[in-house]
């Protein structure tokens, strides 16, 4: 798993790549939470290079959504690969996140 962040206008974009699984979800959660806490405005997670996610990773997405909703901020997920979208669909996560096919739509 690799994670980098960019500020674009009033939004923060997180680029996640590789696998988010049981072995690294805690690091993923730590870095995302730090960014959420130190920024304002919309938060975007660009999932273009996210190849694999398990329930531990899904948990971090849910925690992040809850946190941002409580702060009345928006979370957008973008560029999701089909296999990842399928896992979101099965989990009922597609209805609790705003998912766009491109980052531009979210900005």
């Amino acid at each position: 798993m690799e994670l980098k962040f960019e500020n674009k206008g009033n939004a923060t974009v997180a680029y996640v790549s590789g696998r988010v699984d049981t072995t690294n979800y805690d690091e993923f959660e730590k870095q995302i939470t730090e960014q959420v806490n130190s920024t304002q405005g919309a938060f975007i997670i660009n999932c273009k290079n996210l190849n694999f996610i398990s329930s531990s990773g899904l948990r971090v997405f849910l925690i992040t959504q809850k946190k941002l909703m409580a702060a009345q901020r928006k979370l957008f997920l973008t560029n999701m690969q089909d296999a990842i979208k399928e896992i979101f669909d099965i989990s009922g996560f597609s209805s609790i996140f705003t998912i766009y096919s491109t980052e531009e739509e979210a900005l």
């Binding site: 696998r19 699984d21 049981t22 072995t23 190849n51 694999f52 398990s54 329930s55 531990s56 899904l58 948990r59 849910l62 925690i63 959504q65 809850k66 909703m69 409580a70 089909d82 296999a83 399928e86 896992i87 099965i90 989990s91 009922g92 209805s95 609790i96 996140f97």
Partner: protein, 136 residues
């Protein structure tokens, strides 16, 4: 075609296991989507075993046996931890809005959704999970 993989109850084993399964997927000519799904269900089942099955501090072996016969992929996961039937766990309510969704409890639910069948047996002090799916 069949293959037996063995790991110990250490969560760091998951990465090597994922690599082994990807290699097997290539040998058995499974689709990328199928390999991802198999990797996911095995990770969910095995991580549950590693985190919850053992109360002692000892090293335990977990066996993962895979076979592909007439397009039926079977995964059997065996551990010698305390009895636990994951097919009987509470199903999360996936229709709740984000603020009411419980964090966690999704792993076993995903196994049931992805695989065609998911059964549990307790035999000779072992937990035996059998997962099956027809390969396209």
């Amino acid at each position: 075609m069949e293959k037996e993989l063995k790991i110990i109850n250490d969560i760091d084993e998951i990465s090597a296991l994922a690599t082994e399964i990807e290699r097997l997927g290539e040998q058995w000519k499974l689709s990328g989507a199928m390999v991802t799904n198999i990797n996911l269900v095995i990770e969910e089942a095995v991580s549950n075993i590693i985190f919850y099955a053992f109360d002692d501090q000892k090293t335990h072996e977990i066996k993962i046996w895979l076979s592909l016969n007439n397009k039926l992929l079977t995964v059997i996961i065996i551990d010698d931890g305390k009895p636990f039937d994951p097919t009987k766990t509470k199903v999360p309510d996936i229709d709740l809005p984000a603020q009411d969704r419980e964090v966690g409890g999704l792993g076993i639910f995903l196994i049931g959704k992805i695989m065609d069948s998911f059964t549990y047996q307790r035999n000779d002090n072992n937990n035996i999970l059998t997962l099956k799916k027809t390969v396209e």
